[in-house]
């Protein structure tokens, strides 16, 4: 369960594929409790990410993730741009080895979560991507495992449906936000699902 350059690239390309094919889904989720652009923001940004990392040479996962971070920051926009941008930047700074093992991966995710929370000033339970990232980090800190990663990401993503929003536009909607999945939590699930798949295929 190790992450090298090739696996990192595979992870990001898989993530982009999921975003592109679920663009409309993300957008319609955001239409219910946000401003209806999450699919557009993510699809635009990750299209560019995919192009940028395709041709380039990288010496470490950190190297790839840094490129992803700066592209996401510049191209995604909205709230998710700075949040995912920060997440990828923190991951790239957390571990600079050529091959990152399970403990290293858990550490990277922990740093990313800290970055997201610092940037967005959200805590768990406020119906944001933090509600997926925090359970994932807790589980992976016990033991990094791709099956468990997918499981926890999925169940915590699904659990956002019952939460009440207190951040962003959705906050004004209050109780009405209940009953809808949080769009950023769904895209975060894709991120972890893609990561799990890439790690499993590299074995």
């Amino acid at each position: 369960m190790n992450l090298d350059v090739q696996t990192t690239i595979a992870w990001i390309q898989k993530l982009n594929d999921k975003i592109q094919s679920n663009k409309d889904h993300l957008t319609s989720l955001d239409r219910a409790i946000g401003d209806g652009d999450h699919g557009i923001n993510m699809a635009r940004g990750f299209q560019e990410v995919s192009k940028v990392i395709e041709g380039a040479e990288f010496s470490s996962p950190s190297d790839v993730l840094k490129k992803v971070a700066t592209t996401v920051m510049s191209k995604v926009g909205g709230a998710s741009g700075p949040l995912y941008g920060t997440a990828f930047l923190k991951m790239s700074m957390a571990n600079k080895e050529e091959t990152v093992d399970g403990d290293g991966l858990a550490g990277m995710l922990e740093e990313a979560l800290a970055g997201i929370k610092q940037r967005g000033k959200a805590e768990k339970g406020e119906k944001t991507m933090v509600d997926v990232w925090e359970p994932v980090v807790e589980a992976m800190n016990e033991e990094f495992d791709s099956g468990r990663l997918r499981e926890v990401a999925q169940s915590s993503m699904e659990a956002t449906e019952e939460l009440k929003a207190t951040k962003g536009r959705a906050a004004y909607l209050k109780d009405r936000s209940i009953g809808h999945l949080d769009p950023g939590s769904v895209s975060s699930f894709y991120l972890f699902e893609a990561m799990a798949e890439a790690l499993e295929e590299s074995e």
């Binding site: 920051m73 926009g77 741009g81 700075p82 940037r119």
Partner: protein, 124 residues
């Protein structure tokens, strides 16, 4: 005009229109618009970064919604300058006050204090 003003909104029309309005009030002055994204409504880190570079010197940054704030914060962190202040004052009314005060030579500290007083906000 001593202190520069950067306007970050989800709409490029809003920041462009506001810039014109402020220019009519204070004449020339460093007012830079960084609004909108490629598909229209949104904010883009790169534009804010470019705006901060264009202004130079003491700068006050206004934003409209929360996600514009995050992008602005990130651009300010990356700029690694300590003469930029991000304010939570309302973008139109706050930038108007700041533009007038800057045009009569007030410092960034003075303008921060005026914004806090006028809009009942606490800045860090």
């Amino acid at each position: 005009m001593a202190v520069g003003i950067v306007l970050v909104s989800h709409s490029e029309k809003v920041t462009e229109g506001l810039k014109e309005l402020l220019h009519q009030v204070v004449g020339e002055g460093k007012i830079v618009s960084a609004g909108g994204d490629e598909d229209g409504i949104g904010t883009i880190f790169e534009r804010i970064q470019a705006a901060l570079e264009e202004v130079e010197g003491e700068t006050i940054v206004f934003y409209d919604l929360g996600s514009a704030k995050m992008n602005a914060e990130m651009a300010i962190e990356v700029a690694e300058r300590d003469d930029i202040h991000l304010t939570s004052a309302p973008i139109v009314e706050g930038a108007y006050l700041a533009a007038v005060e800057s045009s009569i030579g007030k410092s960034l500290e003075d303008i921060k204090a005026s914004l806090e007083k006028e809009f009942h906000i606490e800045e860090d």
